[in-house]
C-alpha cells in the first residue's frame, strides 16, 4: 500500500469517526461542572476510614490495590522483555569501557559537570526518598519517587562516565530490587489472608491522620512499588547504556558492528 493511499484510507476513517466523536463529546458532562460519584465518595470516606491524606495513594495502594498489582506485573513484564531482547543479542559479558566512534575526539569531562553531578546526585536521591516516604500524606508515592530515585543514578553516569557508572550500579541488585518489590506487593496482598481477612485488606494499625506513618499496609505496598519502579527504571537505563559499551569482538558471524 502506497503512503498516499494509506493516508487517504486514514482520512476517510477519521471523517467517518468525526460524527461519533462529536456526539460523544456533546454528551460528556460539562468540563469542570461535576465529577464522578465514585471519586466523590472516596474523597468523603477514605480520610476517615484509612487515615490517609493523599487520596491518590489511597486508591492505588488500598481501595484499588488489586489493579495496582496488575500494573506492577505489567511493569515487570515490559522491563523483562526489554532486558531479554537487549541482553540476548549482546551476551552477558561485561567490559568497563564505553564504545568510541572512530574519528570522534575524546573530550575529557569538565570538572564543572563532575562537581554539579556529585552535588546534585545525592540531593536528588534524597528528594526521591522524601517523595516515597510521604506517600500517604502529601503528593508523592512509590511510582513518582521511584522514578526520581532512578534519575539520580543517571547523574552518576553523567558525572563519572561509563566506568564509574558500572562500578556503582550492579545489575544483580537491580534484578533483586525489581523482583523483590513485586514480591513484596504480592505478599502484602496474600499475608492478610493468613489472618482470615480478605485479599489486601488493611490489617496493620492505621495510626493517626496526617502522620508520615499513617496508612498501615499502604506503607509496605508503597515501599514495594518504590523498589520495583526504582530498580526497573535503573535497569532500563543500564541496559540501554550497555548498548554503548565497547564490544569484545564481533558479536555474531557476519556482523562486525554492534
Amino acid at each position: 500500500m502506497s503512503p498516499r493511499l494509506r493516508l487517504a484510507v486514514l482520512g476517510v476513517a477519521l471523517l467517518a469517526l468525526v460524527p461519533g466523536a462529536a456526539a460523544t463529546i456533546a454528551h460528556l458532562p460539562d468540563f469542570g461542572a461535576t465529577i464522578a460519584a465514585y471519586g466523590e465518595r472516596i474523597n468523603a470516606i477514605a480520610p476517615g476510614e484509612r487515615h490517609v491524606a493523599n487520596m491518590v495513594s489511597a486508591i492505588n495502594f488500598d481501595l484499588r490495590g488489586l489493579d495496582t498489582l496488575g500494573e506492577e506485573f505489567m511493569l515487570l513484564a515490559a522491563i523483562t522483555g526489554t532486558v531479554v531482547l537487549l541482553r540476548g543479542r549482546r551476551g552477558e559479558t561485561l567490559t568497563d569501557r564505553a564504545m568510541r566512534l572512530p574519528g570522534r575526539a575524546i573530550l575529557p569531562r569538565s570538572e564543572a559537570v563532575q562537581l554539579t553531578c556529585r552535588l546534585a546526585g545525592p540531593l536528588l536521591m534524597m528528594f526521591g526518598l522524601y517523595v516515597v516516604l510521604h506517600a500517604t500524606v502529601t503528593p508523592g508515592g512509590g511510582f513518582q519517587g521511584g522514578v526520581i530515585l532512578a534519575s539520580g543514578t543517571l547523574l552518576a553516569y553523567l558525572g563519572e562516565g561509563y566506568g564509574g557508572w558500572r562500578d556503582m550500579v550492579r545489575s544483580h541488585w537491580l534484578d533483586a530490587l525489581e523482583g523483590g518489590g513485586a514480591v513484596l506487593f504480592t505478599v502484602c496482598g496474600l499475608a492478610p489472608m493468613l489472618t482470615g481477612a480478605a485479599f489486601m485488606q488493611n490489617v496493620l494499625p492505621l495510626r493517626t491522620f496526617r502522620d508520615v506513618f499513617s496508612g498501615g499496609l499502604m506503607l509496605v505496598e508503597n515501599a514495594g512499588v518504590a523498589l520495583a519502579v526504582c530498580g526497573g527504571f535503573t535497569q532500563l537505563f543500564l541496559e540501554f547504556l550497555e548498548e554503548t559499551r565497547e564490544a569484545d569482538g564481533p558479536e555474531e558471524p557476519g556482523e562486525d558492528s554492534a
Binding site: 494509506r6 465529577i35 493523599n54 484499588r64 515490559a78 543479542r89 532500563l236
Partner: protein, 130 residues
C-alpha cells in the same frame, strides 16, 4: 467552551494516528504512539476536573473540602509509569529491527526468513559501524 478539553484530547489522538500512518521512521513511530497516549491523559484529567476544587490531598485543607476526582489521577499516574516502560520496550524492538535490516523505515521492513537474515552482510556496508 466546555467541550474544549475533550476536543483537544480527540485532536491529539487524531494527530497521533496521522503520525502513525504516515511515519517513515520507527523512532518517530514510537513518539507518535506517545502522542496518542497523552490524549488519554488529557481526557481523563478533563473528566475528573471541577472548578473551585482542591487537589485530592487533605493535608492543608480539612477532609470534606470539595476536591477533584482522585480516581482519574491514580489512573493517569500508573498509565504514565507503565507507558514509559512500554516506550522503552518498543525502542528496543526498534534497535533490533535496525540491527536486522539496517533501516529504520517501516516501508522497507521485510518478513523474517527462516534460517536468519541473508541481507545482513550487505546492509552493514551501507550503514557502517557506529
Amino acid at each position: 467552551m466546555t467541550w474544549l478539553p475533550y476536543a483537544v484530547a480527540a485532536w491529539l489522538f487524531a494527530i497521533g494516528l496521522y503520525g502513525l500512518a504516515s511515519s517513515r521512521n520507527l523512532i518517530h513511530l514510537v513518539g507518535c504512539l506517545s502522542v496518542c497516549q497523552s490524549a488519554t491523559y488529557v481526557l481523563l484529567l478533563g473528566l475528573g476536573y471541577r472548578y473551585g476544587s482542591i487537589a485530592p490531598i487533605f493535608y492543608d485543607y480539612p477532609p470534606g473540602t470539595p476536591a477533584v476526582d482522585p480516581v482519574m489521577q491514580a489512573l493517569v499516574l500508573t498509565d504514565i509509569v507503565v507507558g514509559a516502560t512500554l516506550s522503552a520496550l518498543l525502542l528496543v524492538l526498534t534497535v533490533q529491527a535496525y540491527k536486522r535490516s539496517g533501516t529504520l523505515d517501516p516501508e522497507h521492513l521485510k518478513p523474517m526468513s527462516r534460517g536468519g537474515d541473508k541481507a545482513a552482510p550487505d546492509t552493514s556496508a551501507k550503514h557502517p559501524a557506529r
